[in-house]
């Protein structure tokens, strides 16, 4: 049995290692064009900032792949021959498969802005982008970043670390407030400005201006303000990368359509991770998950399915985390930017604006948490949500959820006092 996995990101690699555990004798190939070995995509920024070498972003030593008999194929897949069960490779001819997992990840969005293909304009997704950023950063003194998501703020931090002056252009009235509630979002606005980064809100990009030689020289906003710059970072989010299957009989929606066992409509072809769109079982919204953790979880389940097991993907209780400059953020359970009907939001923020907690209850039971500048125990928060503990119980035991390093100043007393007042 020969299983081929396209994409050596976290999804593909987790599927491969899980499959290897379950099927010690199968032949497994991992095909990817981006890099010879799997590396951690979220660590791209640390390479650029000089925190880590590229080498250090690889979670496994190079000999791991040999030891595990996972065949690495460095190539681009340009087509799928579904009849003959073969992949068409750009350099190395054809690669037959018995089972195929598509884990091609996502691609940066582009909105058709005038000038978006000029030199000095780019997104950030892969090593090629990083390479380009190295070049572009060399001559940049002033950069504009358009689009206020996680990659946007990372890019701002990256450029800032090289003493480049950054202006951040966002559509929303406050950073990432389409995802974060206003208070948390406001904390981040402060941080951005504290770093000396210009934050221009509620402003769309109109066009990117050519300096006459095909390079960017400025951007113009929808209000006809002109900002001189030598670099434009476009980070308006990502979408599933379906290039490979778009015009095959494999069904796609926004992503590659799969069921909860990652099966596409074609037998023996599966898809998982950022590129996949999991069709809802009950006619609800389809699931597209595009973070590291879900890639890992989906990859693990997909590995089991490839091995012939009867696994159905259970997304479990949502969690995520990020770091905005020096402010850490963790979330457990799903919190939308505005309170949903029936939800009660309790919020505490330290006067320094460097720590905050949001506790969300529904029907008296705990539903979700946001932690800013405070680390929380995943296991405890998840258990409380799963057990449907009451909000009072959670507040009485809040210190059990603390995961800050030893000797850190603890804020539970104030937090609990304040949240209990709001509860009453």
């Amino acid at each position: 049995m020969h299983t081929v996995i396209v994409g050596n990101g976290v999804t593909g690699v987790t599927a491969a290692t899980r499959l290897r555990q379950l099927q010690p004798d199968w032949k497994i190939s991992l095909v990817s064009g981006e890099s010879a070995f799997h590396y951690s995509r979220p660590a791209l920024m640390y390479i650029f900032m000089g925190h880590m070498t590229y080498e250090a972003t690889k979670p496994f030593e190079d000999r791991f792949w040999r030891d595990q008999r996972l065949d690495l194929v460095r190539d681009w897949v340009t087509g799928i021959d579904i009849e003959d069960k073969q992949l068409v490779l750009h350099r190395n001819g054809r690669l037959p498969y018995d089972r195929l997992l598509i884990a091609t990840g996502a691609k940066s969005n582009k909105f058709g802005w005038p000038g978006q293909d000029l030199e000095g304009v780019q997104g950030l997704y892969n090593l090629k982008d990083l390479r380009q950023l190295y070049k572009n950063a060399e001559r940049t003194r002033h950069a504009v970043i358009v689009g206020g998501g996680l990659i946007g703020i990372e890019l701002a931090e990256m450029l800032h670390s090289r003493h480049i002056h950054v202006t951040f252009l966002i559509r929303e009235p406050s950073y990432w407030c389409n995802v974060l509630p206003m208070e948390e979002s406001g904390m981040i606005n402060r941080l951005i400005e504290e770093q000396g980064i210009g934050l221009i809100r509620e402003t769309n990009l109109k066009e990117i201006v050519d300096d006459g030689s095909g390079r960017v020289e400025a951007v113009v906003t929808e209000f006809d303000d002109r900002i001189e710059c030598q670099f434009v970072g476009l980070t308006p989010g990502v979408s599933p990368n379906t290039d490979l299957v778009k015009s095959t009989p494999i069904e796609t929606g926004r992503g590659v359509l799969v069921d909860h066992s990652f099966r596409t409509n074609i037998p023996d072809i599966y898809a998982a991770g950022d590129c996949a769109e999991i069709v809802s079982r009950n006619g609800g919204r389809n699931l597209i998950q595009q973070v590291w953790y879900t890639g890992k979880k989906q990859g693990k389940a997909a590995g089991e399915v490839l091995a012939g097991e009867d696994t159905a993907y259970d997304p479990g209780i949502w969690f995520n985390s990020a770091k905005f400059f020096d402010l850490e953020y963790q979330t457990y359970g799903m919190i939308l930017s505005t309170p949903q009907p029936g939800e009660q939001h309790l919020y505490w923020e330290h006067p320094s604006h460097r720590h905050a907690v949001r506790v969300v209850g529904a029907d008296g039971c705990i539903k979700a948490f946001n932690f800013m500048g405070i680390r929380a125990r995943h296991e405890v928060c998840e258990r409380w949500i799963a057990e449907r503990r009451t909000v009072e119980y959670v507040l009485d035991h809040l210190e059990e959820a603390n995961f800050d390093p030893e000797f850190f100043v603890r804020h539970e007393t104030e937090i609990v006092r304040s949240l209990k007042e709001q509860l009453a």
Binding site: M49, H51, E83, H163, L244, T248, P405, F407, F408
Partner: protein, 485 residues
């Protein structure tokens, strides 16, 4: 490219294909970059350090008489102190508190550039001269003479000079740690601790003892690190010393080696010593901090570590035992014991711990000795691994495998390998410096002394079983990445 048969679609390779050799490129230093904002305080501080070195050079190379004079001493070391403190202050005071790793992998000093090699050679050279040609240090020794007279009431020698410079490095670079980690109380408190133990217990007190006619004794060093403290010769010397404290010192040393060590390690892990008390650890955590990421991380380096560190431990146990047999049996084994003692003192005590251990900071990382050589670390490690409550807890599924923790682990532990699998980190070599936890951008790691030792990893409720498996399988048990799948 041949045309594919029906049912195949082609992505135009032009639109995606690139074959860039990321391995060879490595994404090193940027070719050019925007200039850092001017920091006048930093420039002035650098100037003051320069003046300090100038004063030092004039004192050392000049011909004026030095002995007993405070002025050259105060001028040289005062300027160096003021400059270093100022440098640390101005480098960080206007920054937002947080992890400060920008450009570490590009820095000439911090990433094995020419400056790093020059520093490594200079440090190594200093140790070589110190151990084998102290006569070249005559003027430097004379320079610290007034301090020696004031503290110990006795003339300085090369060891006084060494102790002084060592303590100064710990204190000054300790201040740098305060600035660098001012958002993190764990680092501030443990840095205060190592500064205290070095300054008071390993510098002022031993010399005050000399002034009081007691033996020079270091209360913060024990056998087997301070190997000769349990050698019959030293015990004899201490017990028979004219001062009143000699016997207490022997008693203290034995209690610390055999009682305090296992008990404290059970409760707090190896860190109570290695990154809170020990002078070698103290220097590594302060002066050595800029180079912590240079420790090799490969599995091969881990194998070398295990081979050497346990060999050194066996060697010092053997040497101590042979010395005792020899001394109690009227020299029956003296033909082996004397050369063994000499051999250990030279190769392990001087060459490994000093010349390589500190001299190679800028190229091999700040814990070369602690990781590969120190027999005390070996003992503490065995206790920590099997009989301790200490663990680094991994926070559920929050790890995104970025590798910051592994990169900045000064003991070369692949922290990420555990964290990404949601496993706790229970490793004999971990000195509990807490840096992995501090640098983790997702809040995944926490150093903890858990309620019991039995909940640290599967099987840890039966420590003896785990130990015997480890020994029989050459330590290839839990925690070895080889067993990943």
């Amino acid at each position: 490219m041949s045309t594919p048969p029906a049912g195949t679609t082609l992505i135009d390779p032009e639109t995606i294909a690139y074959f860039y050799d990321e391995e060879a490129d490595g994404f090193g230093e940027p070719a050019s970059a925007a200039e850092a904002p001017r920091n006048p305080g930093l420039m002035v501080s650098a100037g003051v350090i320069g003046l300090g070195f100038l004063a030092l050079a004039v004192s050392l190379l000049g011909s004026m008489p030095l002995a007993g004079a405070w002025t050259p001493f105060l001028l040289s070391f005062g300027l160096l102190t003021a400059g270093t403190i100022g440098y640390a202050w101005f480098a960080y005071k206007d920054t937002v508190p947080g992890i400060k790793h920008d450009g570490i992998m590009f820095g000439n000093t911090t990433h094995r550039g020419a400056i790093a090699w020059a520093l490594g050679i200079a440090l190594t050279g200093f140790y070589v001269v110190l151990y084998w040609w102290p006569e070249y240090l005559a003027r430097a020794i004379a320079l610290v003479e007034p301090l020696s007279q004031a503290l110990a009431g006795q003339p300085a020698n090369q060891w006084f000079l060494y102790g002084f410079l060592y303590t100064m490095a710990v204190v000054l670079f300790g201040f740098r740690m305060f600035m660098r980690y001012r958002h993190n109380r764990y680092h501030i408190i443990r840095t205060i601790s190592v500064m205290f133990f070095q300054l008071v217990l390993a510098f002022i007190l031993p010399h005050l003892l000399r002034a009081l006619n007691e033996p020079e004794f270091y209360f913060s060093y024990f056998w087997p690190l301070k190997y000769d403290y349990l050698f019959p010769g030293t015990v004899d010397y201490l017990v028979n010393s004219p001062g009143a404290l000699g016997s207490f010192m022997v008693f203290w040393g034995a209690v610390c080696s055999f009682i305090a060590t296992p008990v404290l390690t059970y409760y707090y892990g190896k860190r109570w010593y290695c990154s809170w008390v020990c002078g070698c650890g103290g220097l590594a955590e302060t002066l050595g901090d800029p180079w912590r990421h240079l420790t090799p991380k490969s599995t091969v380096s881990w194998k070398i570590e295990r081979a050497i560190i346990y060999a050194v431990l066996l060697l010092i146990i053997l040497t101590t035992a042979v010395l005792w047999v020899s001394s109690t049996s009227e020299g029956a084994l003296s033909s082996i014991s004397a050369p063994l003692q000499q051999w250990y003192g030279f190769y392990i005590g001087a060459v490994f711990a000093g010349v390589i251990g500190v001299g190679f900071y800028p190229v091999l990382g700040n814990r070369v000795w602690c990781r590969f050589g120190c027999p005390m670390a070996a003992v503490l490690g065995i206790i920590q691994r099997f009989f301790s409550r200490f663990r680094i807890t991994t926070n559920g599924g929050q790890c995104m495998s970025c590798g910051n923790c592994t990169t900045y682990c000064e003991m070369g532990i692949d922290v990420r390998a555990y964290a990404e699998r949601g496993e706790n980190i229970v490793r004999s070599s971990c000195v509990g410096c807490g840096v992995c936890s501090a640098v983790c951008p997702r809040g995944v790691l926490k150093l903890e002394n858990g309620p019991s030792h039995g909940d640290r990893y599967p099987g840890s409720d039966k420590p003896l079983g785990a130990l015997s498996t480890a020994v029989s399988k050459g330590a290839r048990v839990y925690g070895d990445r080889d067993g990943y799948v």
